[in-house]
Amino acid sequence: MRIEQITQAYGDALFDTDRGQALRVIEEAVHAGVGPEDVVFRVVLPTMENLMNRSAEDGATSLAQHFLASQISSDVVERMLPLFQKAHVSSGTVVIGSALGDFHGLGKRIVVGCLKAGMFEVTDLGLNVTAHRFVDEAVRLGAQVIGISSLMVHTATGAQAAKGVRALLKERNLEGRIKVIVGGAPYLFDENLFRTVGADAFARNGLEAVNAVAGLIKEVKP
């Protein structure tokens, strides 16, 4: 099977939320001699890009499809990376968590999966995370980006979410070194809300988060 056919088959399986078929496509590709670099760079990443484009164009993809695509693709990339001929170059380092008072983790998990599939180093701080912990962990891990997820308006706009993180970054003179991205339902309903809370960017979904985080990392001063 040609690599384009493998990519097509993998994308179809993700679109159909058929986990078994998606994994079979990858297994068969590996068995047929497709190298780990090609699996990542010519199958997984273009498929995720394609899903993002379909989502942006006509909103034809659902949360469930994003969820499954992120989980499967991050698993595949994690399996392939140790098999690379040369050590891979990380796309960047991100710490992510749900804001204080927010106990919803599905959206965050999708973003974590998408970022890992995009070869970012991601540390998931979990649910109910304080602004101090976001910043302390970002500094400790050398992260360029802090990701803050909120399902509810008050956890998005609260003093312990992006506003609090922004204040701490300012206070510690870290704004040039660490960028802030937010996501979750409130930001979908008001696309200016990320500015109100002091974030540098927001993403509508996990797939979009990959490009947004990559863009923020370019702005980071070494």
Binding site: S62, G101, L106, V153, T196
Partner: protein, 342 residues
Amino acid sequence: MTALERLIATIEGRPVDRIPVFCNLLDQGARELGLAPREYFADGERVAEAQLRLREKYGYDNVWSLFYVGREAELLGCEAMIYSAEGPPNVGHMVMKSMDDVDKVIVPDDVARHPAFEQPARCLKMLKREVGGRYPICAYITSTMTLPAMLLGMEKWMPVLLGPPTPERSALLEKCHDFFVKEVRAYREAGAQVVIYANPFASTDFMPARFIRDEALAWVQRDIEAVGAEGMVFYCGGARVTPTIDAVLNRTGLRAFYLSPLDEVAEAKRLTSDRALCCGVLNDIKLLRWSNDEVRAEVARMLAAGMPGGHFLFGSLVMPLGIPEEKIHAMVDAALELGTTK
């Protein structure tokens, strides 16, 4: 014309003095009474009192028996809620840790006699006594397919739904359906007339169209057949309703759809025509920053799309606690004024 008469006439397509205007003020109740949320939600009469005061203050057409969504988990064994002064309480204890815990979900034989129903029942009793027969009394009930997310967590439930059918999944859905039917009965018997049937798993924003066609709609149909369509309002938890409206209408006979702010009102009206009530929903998160003029312009835009042909109700979504009172007045006043039939 009372608010209840207005709602019924609108559903039936008869002439009305103005469109019904619904506003969902829930967390505002504690602030209205000057109480901490935990104290406020502990007493059903306080919730009813706040609902009555809020309705009186702003002048809209409905009252709520809903305390917070997690209340349903308490009826199924959830032992802890996490309260916040800034927003709704969160479920703080998952009844199920995994799908091996289906047996831990105990459906009460009689929901109305469950201790966790005592305060909602007191709330309904007071609402019925004070405004019954004049204002629609609303309840919020989670659909069979969505309820497990509250027991197990969305992160764990979604992969189960996307995976192959298992005996545990079937058993959990059967339990949730049993509970759903009993809960609707309990709320109706206590005085609720409008039941918001919450089902994000029937929105294409949430699940693939194929899944909705093959699985979700069958459960919607079963839920509605079991309790009857009367007074039931289809709602996808803020996700878009329009892509599935036609299929739901054809399979269930539901006669009311509470849209998402992301739905196009005109498109929903085109799909429902005179077959059902369309509830247009303002994107109330923007009330946090909009000016009064912007609020009025958005209400006007929605009403221009929704009012022609009747069968239209104006409503809000989650109404975050941070919205200033002035903006609530601006929204409701505009809907009352511009929604008046000439």
